[in-house]
Amino acid sequence: MAEKLPEHPDFLWHNPDPKPSYDAIIVGGGGHGLATAYFLAKNHGMTNIAVLEKGWLAGGNMARNTTIIRSNYLWDESAAMYEHALKLWETLPEELEYDFLFSQRGVMNLAHTLGDVRESMRRVGANQLNGVDAEWLDPKQVKELCPILNISDNIRYPVMGATYQPRAGIAKHDHVAWAFARKCDELGVDIIQNCEVTGFVKDGNRVTGVKTTRGTINTEKVGLCAAGHSSVLAEMAGFRLPIQSHPLQALVSELHEPVHPTVVMSNHVHVYVSQAHKGELVMGAGVDSYNGYGQRGSFHVIEHQMAAAVELFPIFARAHVLRTWGGVVDTTLDASPIVGTTPVENMFVNCGWGTGGFKGTPSAGYTFAHTIATGTPHELNAPFALERFETGALIDEHGAAAVAH
């Protein structure tokens, strides 16, 4: 039997031991950490760098998200950031020489109330002014694009229309991480797994090293990319972040033949649904209300999400839940990320992406690498500074970002 199996494919990256020192260390080997390391090496020539991951590569939120990619955010700062990401999503498969199946099947955001309708139309207008492809669909057009949606007006939350972004879609999340990891490895970046950060070494207010479960490593600069655990790292470094970590759950059904041609999101009834390339129906919920680091949430959240899904998609009533899971998302009060400098010299932070970090992976990496390499933010992430909570220049995407965060 054994001789009939194909040979094991080449590993995409190595597992080096940590060197005594690096020019920069990225804490967190998820999508954002790997993308940051990639752009540090590619755009800024910094190859003597390491990515430290406490578990296995891309085993946190990168493995747990529902893979939706879109850029139809309301405010200028967000639209610029996420549209930059979307353009990178379009070119990255070629650049990384890895087809991670970015499928631009469109994303629909349903409107169920008159308030939704007005807010959605406003967002379509704002998107168009920012060069983001967006259109308004009436219920008939919604049905044409997604025939399995129930658009009758006798359901609890009838579909009164939807915004639609044709260039949006989904990608294979694991493969995105592996694509970045392989390129990082080729460029000389050390990817160090099973290496948990336990503290930082500081000279006055300047960070000079990272204490880990595999020893202390000296470094010129540190970039934090730890999503739900950002607060824990910040506390070790001696500063606070305006982050609350919550469980966020998702689930898949068993495999089905293709029935769902696009991605449907509903802010109002709190469910988002796509069908994975392999055939599972992939559904995400809203966050659990309480703070939690447990990578699991309460079942009533799933129940609520399934009830909404079955009403919107009556044929799903015959599907079964195959698997549910949770991640830990780092939410901010204005539902926008924090990418920039910190009160600690030479330490930088990329966090607060909340429930929408996957879609932002390329531009998080691109702008965070720029910030780490030059010490100052890129124009795209300058508005997303930590200082905005002090100045009041918030980027309030709560309820404006087409889906609740």
Binding site: S245, Y290, Y293, G294, S298, T332
Partner: protein, 138 residues
Amino acid sequence: MLLISCPNCGSRDETEFHYGGQAHVPYPENPDELTDRQWAEFLFYRDNTKGSFAERWLHSTGCRQWFNMLRDTVTYDIQAIYPMGAPRPVPDAGEPADFGTASLAPDSTTTGTTGPSVASTDLGPAEPAATAPKGAMK
């Protein structure tokens, strides 16, 4: 699903409650003297503890009273339930907790058989839970 022992109503499902975030965050005593940095701390910064965390809950579809809870944010175990305004209790490692559970406990009774949990705790001069709103900003 958390099973939460409301101090007034007894053991109820999590779906009857609303979450109120970190407990013991007082409104600034001299708001007009605060710097922008201090205002930012009050408005936007809350502890995000990994481990034992003191937080507020509201029994919104029951007695509609606020109370405080000490809960582990990793295991979700409820370690103590105590009135608004009372100091944060030190979790007792010896006694098993009787304030609720993070498991899928079959007993999600709405009759409140567990009884008021605060009565069984030794929290010192705890005010009666029914006066909870008094300390709602604490």
